[in-house]
Symmetry: C2
Subunit: 275 residues, 2 copies
């Protein structure tokens, strides 16, 4: 039983084992003693969400989070409206499947300034907030690495996410702390502390930054394969009062090529050794 | 003459037209009305530095800077000593060729923490400072994009470069502001202002951040090809009292494949239109 006890905080994102169907991920995670699962929206395509919810419960897994909403900025009102509608649908999907929160990759519109993108993000979050509250789904702002500032997120540091939470001042809006995006930031420790004080740390994502990293998106490292101070950052997050799961979120062409059962064993070992 | 007047602040880094020899770069830059040249060390390999210096003067170009020193951190004392020796040689080379300063890509050692790397960078700069003063060569710390924190530089924001300059408190140590590395930073304007107040802006590098960017190193954009707020950042730098050159520094497999005369024409047009 010792192995299972060790894994009590381990959650895996379905995208980490992308070659598997959602059913395969549920089965293999549960059998390996993984405790939590974060659902990527694509994994639910053409599935009955109630069926998946029940399958996850029956397997003894907890649904930790739903990835991902956001992408609020747009250079036309029409684009921004489409984003709102999409986020509202995602909230429904998260509620159906029983995910306590959705992760927001906030977006960045290249044709407007970063400041303007951030304004549109705050407007977008405010627009969907009412529906999220009604459905009992929380919203986690995920600051992304500055290398994504042109496209995926105009929120690029923990400080910006904290500022945004303070400005919005909405009860169920918090932050997803992701090591991959934030490990380099000299203000990370103090800003995690700040988020902890406001009880705003809603999720914690782990993986590693490889040296060298060869792709902007699909070359994340398994914990221990890179140089991020993974345990140190986890200790900051947990010292900040966070008691939730350690979510393994890895996009990697390299790891996706492997037999995913082997990869799952490697994830569990890396979690024990380095996370 | 109007064209030449327009170009009075235009400097080009030899690496921008990498397929050319140093002699070809000098000839073509001068003929096109470019006023300044920044020398990359590799362009001087197997050359007599006095000859190059004279050739540049005869062509009517000004030597703006020498790229690049730094890479101070190392996980052994031996590696750090090698870096010091290399930087001392670079200072000699810069003095020989008449470059007023060298740019420091400070380095980052993956086997130690970023804080420790920064300590070693400060120690390294202090070690070479005496020789640099003696030779009349200034030192410009260049903060690099956080995507290089694992390897090329543990100095990743303008704030960190300012902090470093204040801690070192050395007369001839300043900062090279590079749009590519810093455009995303929400504190950039205030930190440029801070550097300006201390008279610490020593160089200004321009290019563009492409959306999407497909390579970590060799996919920089010509001004106007991307989404960085180039003119706005230049105005911050110049409002901060900087009167020096606008240095075009582009590493791009795409542009290097072109006929470099055509590329030079494009650089000049992009400089007029977007820089």
């Amino acid at each position: 039983m010792n192995d299972l006890t060790d894994l009590e905080k381990l959650c895996i994102h379905t995208i980490t084992t992308k070659p598997w169907t959602i059913e395969e991920s549920i089965e293999h995670y549960a059998r390996a003693g993984v405790q939590g699962i974060t659902l990527w929206r694509d994994a639910l395509e053409n599935r009955n969400r109630q069926t998946i919810r029940k399958r996850i419960q029956d397997a003894g897994l907890n649904i930790v989070s739903m990835c991902r909403g956001g992408f609020f900025p747009g250079d036309t009102a029409e684009k921004r409206e489409l984003a709102i509608e999409d986020n509202l649908r995602l909230i429904d999907e998260a509620a159906d499947v029983g995910a306590p929160h959705i992760v927001l990759v906030c977006g960045s519109e290249p044709n407007i300034s970063l400041e303007e993108s951030r304004q549109q993000i705050m407007e977008g979050i405010s627009r969907i907030y009412g529906h999220a509250r009604e459905k009992g789904v929380k919203l986690a702002i995920e600051p992304l690495h500055p290398m994504y500032a042109d496209s995926r997120s105009a929120v690029n540091t923990m400080e910006q996410a904290n500022d945004m939470c303070e400005t919005l001042c909405l009860k169920n809006v918090g932050i997803a702390v992701d090591i991959y995006h934030l490990w380099w930031d000299p203000h990370l420790q103090e800003e995690i502390k700040r988020a902890g004080k406001s009880d705003n740390i809603m999720a914690f994502h782990t993986c590693d930054w490889k040296n060298p990293t060869t792709d902007f998106l699909l070359d994340r490292g398994l914990m221990g394969e890179g140089i991020a101070p993974i345990r140190e950052i986890r200790s900051w997050v947990e010292n900040g009062g966070f008691k939730g799961y350690v979510e393994v979120e890895i996009f990697s062409e390299l790891h996706w090529k492997k037999d995913q059962k082997t990869f799952l064993e490697e994830i569990i070992q890396a979690y024990k050794d380095f996370a």
